[in-house]
Amino acid sequence: MQSPLSSSGRLLERENNRRSNQARRVHCKRSSAWADLPQELLEIISRSLNIVDYQNLGRVCRSWRLFYSEFKQSFLTSHSPLIVYASTRAKKYCYFFDIATRMKYKTKLPRHICNFKFCLGVSSGYLIMLCLKTNDVSRDYLWVINPFTGHQIQFPCMPWPHCIEDYHDSCFSRSIFASFFASFGSQGQDFLIMILSKYVKVLQFCTSRDNKWKQYHYYNKGGHILDRVVFDGRIYVINSDSRIGIFNLRSCDLRFLELNFAPRFGSHFDKSIRLVASNGQLFVVDSPKVYRIDLSRKEWMKVYNLGDQALFLGHGDMMCSKVINPSKWGGQSNCIYDLFPFNNKEPWKTITRYNLFPFNHQEPRETIIVDFPQKGEGKGYASTKICSWYFLPVSSSIENVRDE
């Protein structure tokens, strides 16, 4: 019995070496503390934790914190997009809803936000809030905050629309089409905020470098700009003539691309046309129609099948849309998750829901209602209203616009 033991022992040892060497090293130290649990085990354990539990795990001790930081990104990508929500009366909290687990989270908004605020949009994981001082218009400002990391930055208030104090929230939000926030420059050291107006053909933007607003009027450049997106380090816009252009910040110039097979959008002014950049691809969504822009072939291509991806389509001014693979958290692929925060029949009740539109028309459509804490009815005057998709995995990586 002795001889086979020694030979097989060596063989087994070799086999062992092939197995996770790192885990073995940790194990071989014969450490007796839970703190030294191998990362591969913590990784399995964390799979069934929610975000709150996972964050707590990172506060227990140094080695668990190291694990927390190293695996955070993969943890977040295995979770569904959230719906971020704040009711019209919300002062203190904004809420998040995980559509896969139906788990709700909240996070405190800082106290110093004044009493008068609108959310203009959600961009790069940041909420863009307009804070108004009722008694002193000159002290109005834009306050951009990431509710997940807590990073915040202030910009002066944009020059247009004027006389903000005359607007009430619904009217105000209708005068702004889209706003976005991005980092700017090669190191991402500066920040950029840009606002599209609905009624005036002007692009307004401000960088943290000069802290001054610039305006670009495009009266002589065709239709209204309907949406904008940061794609491959550039700002792409789309106008109502279904033309796609690139806006250069430095030269303050808009240049349209020559693309074949552009469809015609209806003449409807309020039509929601969306530019969506995801996975290195640029899409135009005229829901439920989706087009992919092939920049190398210079053409529009209608998308009939999203494959293993799904489009998360934001609503209204809060537009924050992405194409992602939902398989990691058990979502449905090849469909549109259309977030729709308002109830047409009873507009005073803000019921949040999202619709699932499969690309394959044989599959049934579905409507899912999300019940958020409602504090009072939504007749709020001058108050926050946020309802948008929120993509945690990208919430700490701001889209970057190159300075060129």
């Binding site: 086979p4 839970w34 085990l41 227990v60 998040f96 997940f148």
Partner: protein, 167 residues
């Protein structure tokens, strides 16, 4: 593999502390590390002793008990039923924290998927919805952050997500 075909085969396992275990083949084959050893050494003698230099006798005994029960459950078609849940609950109830940790490290080394899933889920349940202080006390983990790190962590968690109580 066994030349005797149907005859019940015994696998010999030797732990780090020198204990020799005789384990029924189907139970030992639950251990991926043992299984792949025999897969790659098809002509290994029947009385080959597989050394397990990273596992000591106590957790191995516990693991054999668990795997034996689960192999039987599967043979009886009881997998996934209440009987199994009841066994698992009883099994874990008797284990101290220290034993649980030895078990999970050993199950990880031996690469026993079913048991590892069960043990990691058990630990996850002890973390879910618990405060940091509770977790530290429960698992006997020392707070080894320096005051500066502690402050940085605290700052970061001013922004942490909180759960929402359903009312």
């Amino acid at each position: 593999m066994s030349k005797l075909g149907q005859a019940k085969r015994i696998i010999f396992l030797k732990t780090a502390d020198g204990q020799l275990f005789e384990v029924d083949e189907p139970v030992a084959m639950e251990f991926e590390i043992v299984k792949s050893f025999f897969d790659e050494n098809e002509d290994a003698a029947d009385d080959t002793v597989v050394p397990l230099p990273n596992v000591s006798a106590e957790p191995l005994a516990g693991i054999i008990e668990f795997c034996k029960a689960h192999v039987e459950f599967r043979a009886n078609g009881a997998a996934g039923k209440d009987e199994v849940k009841k066994f698992n609950a009883e099994y874990i109830k008797e284990k101290s924290n220290e034993q649980l940790k030895e078990l999970i490290l050993a199950a990880n080394y031996l690469n026993i998927k079913e048991m590892l899933d069960f043990l990691t889920e058990t630990i996850a349940n002890r973390l879910k919805n618990k405060s940091v202080e509770y977790v530290r006390a429960f698992f006997g983990i020392e707070n080894d952050f320096t005051p500066q790190e502690e402050e940085a962590v605290r700052k970061e968690y001013e922004w942490a997500f909180e759960g929402v109580d359903e009312d």
